[in-house]
Structure formats: structure tokens, C-alpha cells
Symmetry: C2
Amino acid sequence: MTVEHATNPAPRDPDTGVGVVISIDAMGGDRGPAVVVAGMAESAEKNPEIRFIVHGDESVLSGLIARRRSLAGRCDIRHAAGTVTMDDKPSQVLRKGEGTSMWSALESVKQGEAQVAVSCGNTGALMALSMMRLRKLPGVNRPAIACLWPSRNPQGFNIMLDVGADIRADAHDLLQYALMGASYARNGLGLERPRVGLLNVGTEEHKGRAELKQAHEMIEKAANGSFDYIGFVEGGDLPSARVDVIVTDGFTGNVALKTGEGTAKLVGDFLKDAFSNSIMSKFAAILAMTSLKRLQKRIDPRRVNGGIFLGLNGTVVKSHGSADATGVSAAIKLAFTLAQSGFQDRLAARVAQGTAAATAEGGA
Amino acid sequence: MTVEHATNPAPRDPDTGVGVVISIDAMGGDRGPAVVVAGMAESAEKNPEIRFIVHGDESVLSGLIARRRSLAGRCDIRHAAGTVTMDDKPSQVLRKGEGTSMWSALESVKQGEAQVAVSCGNTGALMALSMMRLRKLPGVNRPAIACLWPSRNPQGFNIMLDVGADIRADAHDLLQYALMGASYARNGLGLERPRVGLLNVGTEEHKGRAELKQAHEMIEKAANGSFDYIGFVEGGDLPSARVDVIVTDGFTGNVALKTGEGTAKLVGDFLKDAFSNSIMSKFAAILAMTSLKRLQKRIDPRRVNGGIFLGLNGTVVKSHGSADATGVSAAIKLAFTLAQSGFQDRLAARVAQGTAAATAEGGA
């Protein structure tokens, strides 16, 4: 994945010759390229090793980048005239997407110029284009989107996948999700031996769907030292400290993700109401400001910004369409961490190895 | 459903001859019969019309009831020696459940002595026994469990079903859930024209499972004046003010319910941490006490205590196993509201009528 491309050398550090290159789709988000460039600048300040290939309207991007001192000499702009909008259907984008900033951003990963691509664009279109341009990893039938979930664990987050790449998943797909999720937890969250759970409606043996029982056995067999399989977990365990990676199909995962976000927002809004209720409570809010800001930070969706596409020949980070500079910077940080750890090669190796173990006679 | 049973007259008001009779399984919860009787007493104080048939160990119950003035002359105790525990498997309970307080409580509804049964017992066992003793309502293939969800709507709650009666649901089942949920919203929440939505992963036409597309068309056809069908909704809409009744299969509904509860609890715990963070924040917490209590009340799971079994020949309210007296009282209040409105007969009529409309040529 790090082969140099002859005509477009990656913008590595001129002194050391090394660096992590992230490919950025600068045009896709709801808030436009200025916010994306601001997020890049935040990341560049914190990580001297980071370099960017930036895809989009060159006349706009060169101006925005020139105004950020931290980005000086660290960006390679690739002009792309087209933009994939939030309303474009994946099927349209597959037919007419060439020449868009999204297509171009994936191309840099495909050509080995960049290790990871980051886009704020339309999820469906980005997944469809990623599948077409990067292709599925050998042995993976359905790629997945993994998200981070605020949790009681020391690392602050749990991982859940799939949260919407595909609405179906059979037992073999769920096994792949377990292997990919465990690899992501090791490389993205730094957990040496992540604990993996399979989402179900009850922990009793007699409950659950047939494919879940089958996946349960397959994942148990595949868990040979690189991760622990803790069995079935329930919706209430998503933020729990007894699991790090939660495996489910994309339909259930997407409903759970949006339910969790919706509930957190509801409680947050009720809290605001409570504090603007009386003069006394407004005064209390001022006194508790520091503590409330700390709380806000713990459940801030911007901190967990960055769904990851797993199971392709290349890593793609999907940032929220409405992300601000802090959100974009969080997504880039995640991309940087994964690129630095050599995640893509490790993931491919784990998938190949784990699938062999789960399907071998008598286990491994 | 109000036919008198010769040997066991319902304990109606001696002056007026009328009253609402609730059948109580007093033994099933985690906290034992004392908490159940305390909840009955709370309800009895608030509702002079309420009467109880109480099932369980007579020697224990008569002592507990005698100590509550509000229950004097309003309870008919039926001795049942056995108790269904939280660990009993539904299959065991079906074989050996006769003589338990749960079985006996359902029998009072079956015999028409009581309008609604309330139990804190094991959900799986209660559903299995309810199916066997009360039987399915004509036209209903899969009964459902409906729960209340804190929301931004004026009524304070939305309804979601199924949250775990069955892990599968085809298009016809989802239609039944829509009809039953709408009837529950009218009679339980007092909404004249509830808005019904179908849970999906996206609002775009090209997304979602085949059975959801089919159910979408069937529910649209059935919505003829008694409710509005607003189409697909997502996980984030569960607490929203644009929908009153959310329809989904029992697997997805159960995951969503537990995810929502888990998230609310996580945010609540983080909030407590924030307020015990410093002397300043502790002082602020004291000042904001009234407002925080108001917030707590809005998201208090005890207020939404009471899953309802719909689609049987009789209404059963399932209270949380760990409910305290306030929780039990909330479940009884819900049972009382439904009994008073003649819910069971209305539900049966709506299901028959709505199914005919959805399957009629050219709609109705």
C-alpha cells in the first residue's frame, strides 16, 4: 500500500523522507471546504508527521490552504471539478462519479500515494464508490462501517460494526466483522487483546436468530489469542466496560447508532431545559460550568467522529456530513493513527488467518 | 370481557356496583410481594374506582394487605402456592406453571373477572403463558410487546412495538403492530389520531428490507381516518415529536429499547460524576436540585414502566422485574386507564377492520 506513484509523488517530509499521507475529499461536507481545511490545519499543528493530498476545486482550495501557516508545504492539491452532493444516489455516483473530489480522493489510496482517505460526503455514495474503486479485501463478502461509541471503558469508546454498510449479514459476515473489529480496536484504540461480543436480544441460549447461533460458534473458534470472545451482549452493553467491540448486522447497528445518538441528544436537551428553568438553576449552571463542559466533552459526538469502512483494499474514514473543524480534525486524527500503525496490512492478515481458524476442522 | 364468573364474583364497589378490576401477580418480581402490595396501595389511593384480585401466597399477602388502609375491602386474594422465578425457562413454565401466581393472574382475565392482568415476572414465561391461556386475537399471527419511550411530544411518551415478543415479523405482522399500536395510543395515551411510523435505516426509497417495503404499502392502505401513517422513521426519531407510534420487529425493537435505556443511564452517570467533581459543582448541584429532579422525572424509567402484550384475548401489562412501589403503581395506572377505556374490545375491532382495509382490492 506504500508503493510510490511515478507521476504523483506523495508529499513526504523533505528532511526525513518519511510521513503519513492522508487523502482528503475537501468538497463533500454540508459546511463546504473551508471547514475541512480548518480541520486539516488543526491536525497538522498537532502532528508534524502528517501530509495531505487534497482533492477538490483547486482555485478555492489553494486560497484556503495558503491562509493556514501549519499547512505550508504539506499539501498536494489535486483539482477535481465535480462534487458528490448529500442528495446524490449511490447508483448515479457510480455512473457519473469520475471527476468528483470523492472519486479522486479514493484514487490516491488505490494508487498507493496515501494510506487512508477521509471524506465528509454522502455515506451511501462513498461506500458504493469505495467498493467499486478499492474492491473488497480477499475473503470478505460484505465490507462494514465501524463507529466509535462513548463507553465506560478506560479508552473512552467502544467499537460497533456494521452500522450501515449493508442491511444483511450472514454468520460468515459476522465472523469477518469480529475479525475486522478486533483488528481496528488493536490498531485504532491501542487495545492489545480486545473483547468482542455479538449483539443479540437476550443472553439465554434459546433466544436469537439462527445466523447468530452459527456466528457465535464461528467467532468462538476464531478467537485464538488475538482477541477474547465474550459471547452475546445486549443493547444495554453498548456503552459497557465488559466489551470493546460489538458485532451486528448493518440494519440493527444503524438503528442502535441512531437510537443512541437520539437518546443522548434528548437527555442533553432536557438538561438544558432544567438549567434554564429558574434563576437559581441558571446560577447553578454558571457555578457548574467546568463540570458541565467536562460532561459535554465525554459525550460530544465530534470526538467520536469518523466511521471507518473496513474490508476493502484500503482504509476510508467517513466523517459526519455536518462535522465542524473539530470534528474533521478528529476524523483525520483517527486516519493518522490507523495509517501510522500499518492497519491495512495487519487487517488483511488477520482476516485471512481468522477465517482459516474458524473454518478449520476441529478449530485452531 | 366483563362477564361475571359465578363462583368468584369480582370485588366491585359495594355502593355503585361498578369498578375496574385488575388482576395482580403479586409474587413474580425481584423485590417480592411487599413492593407489589405497596404499589397497589399507591394506586388505590389515587383511583377510588380500582379493585384488585391478588394472586400468590395467601398467608403472606393477607398480612401485607391488612397493613394498607387504602386497600381495605378492595382486594380479593386467590391463593397460589407456586412462583415463576426470573430464571425459569418459558418451556418449563408452560409444562409446570399451573398453580403459580402468574398462571392464576392470567386465569382471572381469561374468566372475565378482571379486565387486565399485571405481573412483574419473567417476560418470556409471561408471554408464553399468556399465549397459551389467553390465545391469540383472531387475525393476529404474532402478538407484540409495546413499550413507552420518553419523547418531545406533549403526551411525554411515544409507543414502540414489538420490543421482544418475537424476533421475527413479516409485512402482515408489521401491519398488525401498526393497528394495535394506534389503538393503544388512542386508549392508553388519549391521542385521537396517532401518527404511525415504520422503523428503517434510511428514509430513501431504495433502502431497507423487502418486508419493510411491503409493510409500508399495507400500512398506508390501512390508515383510513383512525391514524396517520407518516412512512419510514429512523432510530433518531424514537423520541421525536413527528411520530407517536413506532413499528418494528421484536429483534430490532428490543435492541433499540435496551440501547436507549443504556445510553440514558450512561449520560445520567456521567452527569453525576460531573456534579461530584469539585466543591463548586457540588454546591451547584444543591442549587439546581429542583431542576435536576425535574429532569430525572422526565427520563425516569419507572414512569414508563409497563410493557403491554397486544394481540391476545385479554390485556397483560408487564412491569419491570426490578420495579419499586412507584414503578408497580405506574404499571397499574396504565392497566387501569386501558381497562376503563374498554381497550380490549376496541383493539379487537380495529384489528379486524384494519386488516380488511389493507388487504381489500383497491384499498378502503
